[in-house]
Amino acid sequence: MSQTAISIEGLGKCYRVGRQQAKGDGLRHAMEAVLRSPVAWIRKRREQSSKEEDFWALRNISAIIPEGDVVGVLGRNGAGKSTLLKVLSRITVPTEGRIKLHGRVASLLEVGTGFHQELTGRENIFLNGAILGMTRAEIIRKFDEIVAFSEIEQFIDTPVKRYSSGMYVRLAFAVAAHLEPEILIVDEVLAVGDTAFQKKCLGKMGSFAASGRTVLFVSHNIEAIRTLCKRAIWLRDGSLMMDGEISSVVDEYSKSLFSEEVPSWDNPDYGICLNKLALKNGRGELTNHFVPGEDLRVEISFQARKRVNRPRFAIGIVGANGSCFTSNMLLDGKFPEYLEGEGTLTCLFKAIPLLPQTYTLKMAVRDETIKDFIFPYKDVTSFNVTGDLAEYGYEGEYVNWASRSTPVVIPYEWHLPDGRREAVSLNRSVRAISNVPHQVQEPSLELDAMQ
């Protein structure tokens, strides 16, 4: 634990953007310029390089990661997460600063890099393995294990172009999972594949970490990061915002997601602007932490400079496992006749039946023709549902898995063969009514029939 696996000192990566690219970087320009007047070309080149805008995708990043740490990298899109991983995996060189890596590095920025559609599963295992840095002998040694992990034994000699996307991902991850580096760098690879397989991958990464190796893990799935990592690094606009113990970084990060107001969602064509989106709990308090079964108010403040007729709002709540529920005026038809001036539109979700997880709220607005979006679908904000499930009567051994489970729970009952009835609900008030005490055993009609 004491030894350093990765040390990053003053790392920066700069991309050139602007003039040169806009004008076209083609050979014709280069040659034309040289041929016309060589002297002017040299002078211009010098000037140009200073005129080009420098875009720092990363700046002044320093961190020391000890051996055996599992570090999550958090940040919004464009914060520099991918650039950091690319520099660490030597795909691109840093502009300034230095990185020291102790140990063999394997990076997994994409599942199935180098897979060839025409080749069979078997052939692709070898090809992909070699590309990821395994030797032939190593691949041969682990071949059976890889195939078993991927669960595609029967199709191993079928070209991968005939695979379903699930099979493809499974095979690809299986190869990557059998690399044995001291340092593993993983980017959002779990966004693909079905839930069961995602769990298997997370498990594999967990055991990898447990064996004392260093992992750097980027994911949008905050819960996955929370379960896997001990520590997190939070990047924002290319700089390091926070580096520390996982729960404090995740909390700060989630707060920031919330506090950053909807960046003034404006559509000049329709003359309407959504300038604020607020989440409130049942008591009307502004928050992004909710308990299961609580009311969720989504308040959208708008400013319509022109009259906007019959807009259709749609809100979707998305959990770690996919979409949960929606309120959609295209379905229910309860749209306002028009919006004009300033105002607020609220959607109240009553007693959200959600397990403790992190959720994203996405939203879209269509115009009266229904065909055109005033505001196309976009992830607007995120919120957490937290709470001790024991309070809701959850007492299973794997209650912690709730963070990765299907998130929506509607009230249900188990009718057990011994006549017991167990009611479960995430809404405490509902549960109180429907919960049937153990002692009162009234064999139901169905049970009678069975006996």
Partner: protein
């Protein structure tokens, strides 16, 4: 435990060690290209024989029968085939390795390994075709009862020469293509044009003496002459000066190709 330092402009140190570590990838990428090339074709590998045979037939008819070019006492098809071997190798290596980086851009932007592997593997792929055509040449020599002379000892030298020249050109074009896709249009033109200024369908003795030196500036002149001389025997004329020029040029091309490739390589992922 291995230690690795990543710094601006200082990746050089690791480079050759990495190249050694990834040595098997040369094989795997070439193997992939060969496996994929003839998938879903009926004739399959047959194509790598059919193509040179047809070209040989056409060149023999055009230059030997219609053009009545001197053959130097060698059956014209043999003469043509000996010229075609290095030429086709060079031209296919240039086209394939020139395109290789762009074709593998997904790899370049997602995984690290020395990029030289990609360009070199394409040359190796073309070399496999070259070997297949060699087999055809051997068969043709048996058919014509040609026995190679001691000149054959020099043959490996010329193979090395054409391999190096192909790799050198390949590296240049592959690296340039990453930034300037214009080369996608330039390469086919160069390849087509090159066929006319190289002694593929005819002997280099056909060229008037005063133009010999100018002609020999094309490195393929020395290489093709060398192929014919070493494979078909001593009665064929060889200008050693052309061979010397070819050697110098090849050294220059491969040296500068490696230099340029190395220089630009670190930015491939940003530009591609």
């Amino acid at each position: 435990m291995t230690e690795l330092i990543i710094e601006a402009g200082h990746t050089e140190r690791e480079y050759w060690r990495d190249l050694w570590r990834y040595r098997e990838l040369f094989y795997f990428l070439a193997w992939r290209d060969l496996l994929v090339r003839y998938k879903q074709t009926i004739v399959g590998v047959g194509w790598s024989v059919i193509r040179p045979v047809l070209t040989m037939a056409i060149l023999t008819i055009v230059f030997g029968k219609l053009g009545k070019m001197p053959s130097g006492g060698v059956p014209y098809p043999l003469l043509v085939l000996c010229g075609m071997l290095p030429w086709q190798f060079l031209s296919s290596a240039i086209s394939e390795s020139g395109n290789s980086l762009v074709a593998n851009s997904a790899l370049i932007s997602k995984v690290y390994f020395p990029r030289v592997v990609i360009a070199t593997s394409s040359v190796i792929t073309s070399f496999v075709d070259f070997m297949i055509s060699m087999g055809f040449l051997v068969a043709l020599m048996i058919w014509y009862h040609r026995v190679p002379s001691l000149n054959l000892l020099f043959f490996p030298l010329f193979v090395l020469l054409v391999f190096s020249a192909s790799l050198g050109f390949g590296l240049w074009i592959a690296a340039l293509m990453v930034k300037y896709r214009d080369f996608r249009f330039i390469v086919p033109f160069i390849v087509q044009f090159g066929l006319y200024v190289s002694p593929v369908g005819f002997q280099s003795t056909v060229v008037p003496a005063k133009y010999q030196l100018l002609f020999a500036l094309n490195p393929m002149v020395g290489i093709i002459d060398g192929f014919r001389w070493s494979l078909l025997g001593g009665q064929l004329h060889i200008f050693w000066s052309s061979v010397a020029i070819a050697c110098v040029e090849t050294l220059f091309i491969i040296g500068s190709g490696l230099w340029y490739f190395r220089k630009t390589e670190q930015f491939f992922a940003d530009v591609i």
